[in-house]
Amino acid sequence: MAKYLLLKHYRGAPAAVNDVPMDQWTPEEVTAHIQYMRDFASRLEGTGEFVAEQALSSEGAWVRYDGEGRPPVTDGPFAETKDLIAGWMLIDVETYDRALELAAELSAAPGAGGRPIHEWLEVRPAYGVQATATE
């Protein structure tokens, strides 16, 4: 088993095929979308492939150290061009192909007009925790 991070982007990813801002959807379409995500997560709990997930606020800032005794420097809110993560899910699956399959399924969440959004998801393998016996 290996862990993969599925990243949903607000911005920074290529445009979705069914690219309509969520505030232009009908309330029913929003509800259907959210339900799809919930069902997806609970189905992965059932298959023993779920590790964790978190939706993230769109408010974010860059922060950095600014020297001894000085407050951290912040930048943001983000300019329009900056990448922005909407949320993530960590899964633990048998193969890389399975990770792709699940990401594709998540990307098919219904959007405007009840049609799949076909949004781009980023799939990133997590490092293992342990070196193998091979030397």
Partner: protein, 381 residues
């Protein structure tokens, strides 16, 4: 309270319940319940016959569960009608349990989880911690695995090769929770080796012992990876190495070579060298030839190239790499090492950096990026 004794009894107790007529999944649940009770009761009042105690309590738990479930009435009758069990033959039951838990219908991950639970006696929480997943996730994995094998007859003889593979997976997972899975894999393989007369089980046991014996030297105090050649060999566990060599020699004497015996032979040759320079690389190459012949695995060929590089020089090692897919895990790391030994530091530095980007784990990535940094600093003068 001896938790490891408790865990050792688990497969035998499950075996007794199954022989009395419980299905595997229910027996397994009942034994886990009994374990929980043992942990509570034993410190105050240790039983004289721990196994008998566990069987009694687990059987009671099983009957309670059956009674509580109205839809299972029919099976309850069936179970009550079963003749009283005879003790003994527990060894055979345990062996069956190994086969069941490694059943080919299970995915490797499910087989591992079920083995740790039903043969190893670990709790779901412990297994979840070791694999860094939520307990609920692991519980689902285990119950799916139990459903998958629910129709499998308990008396079928299984394939030792699949059991051995599952135990090897457990071993390689190492340790991360409060359970050392490598030590657990060794314990289970020891148990299996005592029950069966199979040269590859012995080969795997030898391989595990020889690798495990070197573990204290494999990482520095800061978690940094220490390559074999730089390891402090005084940290190696010589008793465990001696045991591994003995187990291996007995297996090899039977003249039925398998991949785990061949891998163990390589490990034994490494363990045999007092200093890295004394390593018998020529013999190691011969064992890799055997391994390639048995498995035809590209990973074996890659490892063989390293050994050839040591035995016959880096050019020969690079020649041995020819024909292998550069996308193979660790290909770039091996190529980097051989190019460095051949004096081509620029190529080596580039390959180390490339290898670091696709390293399978953090200690290895850090090691490789340090190698690249070292060479680049050298090149800058």
């Amino acid at each position: 309270m001896n938790e490891s004794l408790l865990r050792e009894l688990v497969p035998a107790v499950i075996g007794v319940l199954v022989r009395r007529g419980a299905d595997f999944a229910a027996a397994e649940d009942a034994v886990q319940d009994a374990l929980v009770e043992a942990v509570r009761a034993w410190p105050g009042e240790p039983p004289r016959d721990p196994k008998g105690w566990l069987v009694t309590v687990a059987w009671r738990k099983f009957l309670d569960a059956v009674r509580a479930d109205g839809s299972r009435r029919r099976r309850e009758d069936l179970v009550e009608a079963e003749p009283a069990p005879a003790p003994g033959e527990a060894v055979d039951d345990t062996l069956q349990l190994y086969f069941l838990c490694a059943h080919p219908s299970l995915t490797p991950a499910s087989a591992v989880a079920l083995t740790l639970r039903a043969v190893g006696g670990l709790t779901t929480r412990q297994i979840a911690q070791a694999y860094l997943v939520p307990e609920a996730t692991m519980a689902q994995r285990i119950s799916r695995a139990k459903r998958t094998v629910s129709g499998v007859r308990f008396d079928q003889s299984g394939d030792v090769a699949t059991v051995v593979r599952v135990l090897y997976l457990v071993f390689n997972e190492g340790y991360s929770g409060d359970v050392d899975l490598s030590a657990e894999a060794i314990r289970l393989t020891r148990q299996l080796a005592a029950m069966t007369d199979h040269e590859e089980v012995a080969g795997l046991l030898a391989l595990m012992l020889l690798h495990h014996a070197r573990r204290p030297a494999r990482t520095g105090p800061d978690g940094r990876l220490v390559p074999l050649a730089e390891q402090d060999r005084s940290l190696w566990d010589t008793r465990m190495i001696a045991e591994g060599v003995d187990v291996l020699q007995a297996a090899l004497a039977r003249d039925r070579l398998g991949e785990f015996q061949a891998q163990a032979a390589v490990a034994a040759l490494h363990a045999d060298a007092q200093r890295a320079e004394e390593t018998d690389w020529v013999q190691i190459v011969e064992w890799y030839d055997e391994l390639v012949r048995i498995t035809d695995s590209p990973v074996a060929r890659l490892n063989r190239a390293v050994a050839v590089g040591e035995a016959d020089g880096p050019r020969a090692g690079l020649a041995a790499l020819a024909g292998l897919d550069p996308a193979l895990p660790r290909y770039a790391a091996v190529a980097a090492y051989l190019h460095e030994r051949d004096g081509d530091l620029v190529t080596a530095a580039r390959l180390y950096a490339q290898a670091a980007r696709s390293a399978p784990n953090i200690p290895e990535r850090d090691h490789l990026i340090r190698q690249a940094a070292r060479l680049n600093a050298e090149l800058r003068g």
